[in-house]
């Protein structure tokens, strides 16, 4: 084959794959069908993007919560054993025992909807209907004094719900607030006069011991 013909043949091969290649693509994967996207696209954002049609009342949510959630979270969202506390904790964030609940800490109600819809009830994920999720969120909002007992939460009024702690969150500012951690030539000799022990783990004594077969050895 002449040099000219080789170049020509190469050009033909390139033209055949031009669709994806010209755009810098590999042409792998396939287009997702609308039904497939709808089946998996379950996330909810604070601006309401992703909210499905539907509604649910505080009253309906209370019945559901007692049936499906209270065993872990307590009848009033106060938490059982070490399972998460969902309600209360107001004014505790500066204390020695902050209680980070939906009402006292979470910035957005949408997080509650997103999380319940994808992960709750624990061990029975994605079994709730959309109306049931609305009702559970409504109930949790009422337990946190964000809405009244006769409230009905829906796609239409969802973004009108504001949680009290939203403004207390701000972006990572370590590079300015902790600028002093970037330092030249940290001290190497005679850095302090004396050293005293101020705390010992053994006093608390919560370390699992070697005989504790807390994890099965295969």
């Amino acid at each position: 084959m002449s040099r000219f013909r080789k170049v020509f043949a190469a050009a033909l091969v390139m033209a055949a794959t031009a669709g994806a290649a010209e755009a810098g693509r590999l042409g792998l994967g396939r287009e997702a069908l609308p039904e497939e996207v709808a089946a998996w696209d379950i996330d909810i954002r604070p601006d309401g993007q992703g909210l499905p049609p539907g509604k649910g009342s505080v009253k309906e949510g209370e019945a559901l919560f007692l049936e499906k959630c209270a065993a872990c979270h307590g009848e009033f969202g106060e938490g059982a054993a070490r399972w998460p506390v969902l309600a209360g904790g107001f004014g505790s964030l500066k204390s020695a025992a902050p209680e980070k609940t939906i009402g006292s800490f979470w910035p957005y109600a949408s997080t509650t909807f997103d999380y319940i819809r994808r992960a709750m009830p624990f061990g029975q994920a994605q079994t709730l209907t959309d109306d049931e999720v609305y009702a559970l969120v409504a109930f949790l909002l009422s337990m946190n004094d964000v809405v009244k007992d006769d409230f009905v939460l829906s796609r239409d009024n969802f973004t009108s719900v504001k949680l009290p702690n939203e403004a207390a969150f701000y972006l990572d500012d370590r590079e300015t607030a902790e600028k002093h951690f970037w330092r030249k030539d940290p001290c190497m000799t005679a850095c302090k006069d004396k050293v005293e022990i101020t705390g010992r783990a053994r006093v608390i004594d919560v370390t699992p011991d070697d005989k504790d077969k807390s994890m099965k050895v295969e």
Partner: protein, 428 residues
């Protein structure tokens, strides 16, 4: 990369430590002084008697189709702390750092953190979907992903809650428990950029949300700049398929950023114009400060280090020559230096980094030292190539208070007593 044994000079290291003889403390119970030229009192039966393994044939090549560690290493296991969580499906276990060396964590010892248990995903049924602000919403099979250009990178993964139990004070006796929510693995995977370009990003694409196929449907938001920079969609760890507990068959690798973002069993990437504020980036993994306000999106893991030997689970057993070792890492870049003190921070010396020193990877350090039974207060202090110096716990608390839980990269102190026992303490 730095693979030279920088400054490996035993004699000068010993001299720098002040010389063993000058420090000589009283002999402690249970300790053995073993001078190099000690004479044996009687012949060692380990030498004079023929051992079973020297006489009889061992197992054949078919005995262990997938090999395991020696039976004498059966104590080297992940451990959990039962009181820490309500149940074991949403819980954590810890890597036995004190039993490991070098920079790579063996796959079976990589700590686990699940929010809905270990998903056992059939790779033939696994799909990765990209939807949202893209020109083409796409679905990939594992076969598709393995036909894309791939790369190999070594990165640490540290849970944002690593050392979280230590925020208020020394609590757990063992580096496995205080620092064991980290592993360092070589990933094989496809740059996320390639997948996103395959779908075609809209001009208003600013964030992605990654989502797992597990029973927690774990989801996190990642800025598009990071997604296009160095994130990988990984299917292999240390050369073999991801372990089920590490996200088999597919996980995202988010170098230098908190482990919770490295979503396992990755099934979907949605492209959007703003973050999602999912549970794990609002209710959890935010940093509550003393004034009651909270930092969000504290993704980068700052420089940190810990001495793994000696440590409470690995006490000193012998006087004379000893090896102090530990690991250092930084999510902001590459470890440039680690200093070690044996006297509680009065005096420091620069440790020897050995083995590959790579960006956003664990680096291994050593101080070869001579110990004569004196009490030690050991700390290590990591520095990275941005000039960041690992702070003390007091310095961290001065900025963040006591309620932060996450992102505790403060300097750890181990107290070595005269008998070699080592404990977790805090010092002034």
């Amino acid at each position: 990369m730095n693979q030279t044994a920088k400054g490996l000079d035993r004699r000068s290291l010993l001299a720098a430590l002040g010389g063993g003889a000058a420090l000589g403390a009283g002999a402690a119970a249970g300790l053995t002084a073993r001078p190099a030229a000690a004479a044996a009192a009687k012949p060692d039966p380990a030498i004079t008697e023929v051992q079973d393994w020297s006489r009889f044939l061992g197992e054949g090549v078919a005995a262990h189709p997938y090999g395991k560690p020696s039976k004498y290493e059966a104590h080297v296991v992940k451990r959990d702390v039962e009181w820490l969580t309500a149940g074991r499906e949403s819980s954590v276990n810890f890597t036995p750092l004190h039993e490991l060396d070098g920079i790579i964590t063996p796959n079976g010892l990589c700590f686990e953190r699940h929010h809905g248990g270990i998903a056992e995903v059939d790779p033939a049924k696994h799909r990765l979907m990209i939807n949202g602000l893209v020109d083409r919403q796409l679905v990939f099979t594992m076969d598709d992903i393995k036909r894309m250009p791939r790369t190999n990178r070594i990165y640490f993964l540290e849970c944002a809650a690593n050392s979280g139990m230590e925020w208020r004070g020394a609590q757990l006796n063992g580096c496995q428990f205080t620092h064991g929510m980290i592993h360092n693995v070589m990933y094989t995977g496809v740059p996320l950029r390639i997948l996103l370009e395959e779908a075609g990003l809209k001009t208003n694409a600013k964030w992605i949300m990654v989502e797992g196929g597990d029973a927690a449907g774990m989801n996190r938001s990642i800025p598009i700049e990071k997604a296009l920079d160095d994130c990988l969609i990984a299917f292999k760890m240390n050369g073999e398929a991801l372990r089920a507990e590490q996200g088999y068959p597919l996980r995202i690798v988010v170098p230098g950023w908190e482990g919770n973002m490295w979503v396992k069993w990755l099934r979907r990437i949605e492209v959007g114009d703003q973050p999602w504020h999912a549970r794990e980036e609002t209710s959890k993994y935010t940093d509550l400060l003393a004034d009651g306000r909270s930092r969000r999106f504290t993704f980068v893991m700052d420089a940190k280090s810990v001495v793994t030997n000696p440590s409470p689970q690995a006490p000193l057993k012998f006087k004379g020559p000893n090896v102090l070792t530990g690991m250092a890492w930084s999510g902001r870049g590459t470890i440039t230096r680690v200093d070690v003190t044996l006297d509680g921070g009065r005096n420091w010396r620069t440790a020897r980094l050995d083995g590959p020193v790579l960006p956003r990877s664990v680096a291994r350090f050593y101080v070869d030292f001579d110990w004569q039974g004196e009490e030690l207060m050991i700390q290590s202090r990591a520095m990275d190539d941005t000039g960041y110096v690992q702070p003390t716990k007091a310095e961290l608390r001065a900025v963040r208070g006591l309620n932060s839980i996450y992102h505790n990269n403060g300097i750890q102190t181990w107290l070595v007593r005269a008998n070699g026992e080592t404990e977790n303490v805090e010092i002034s």
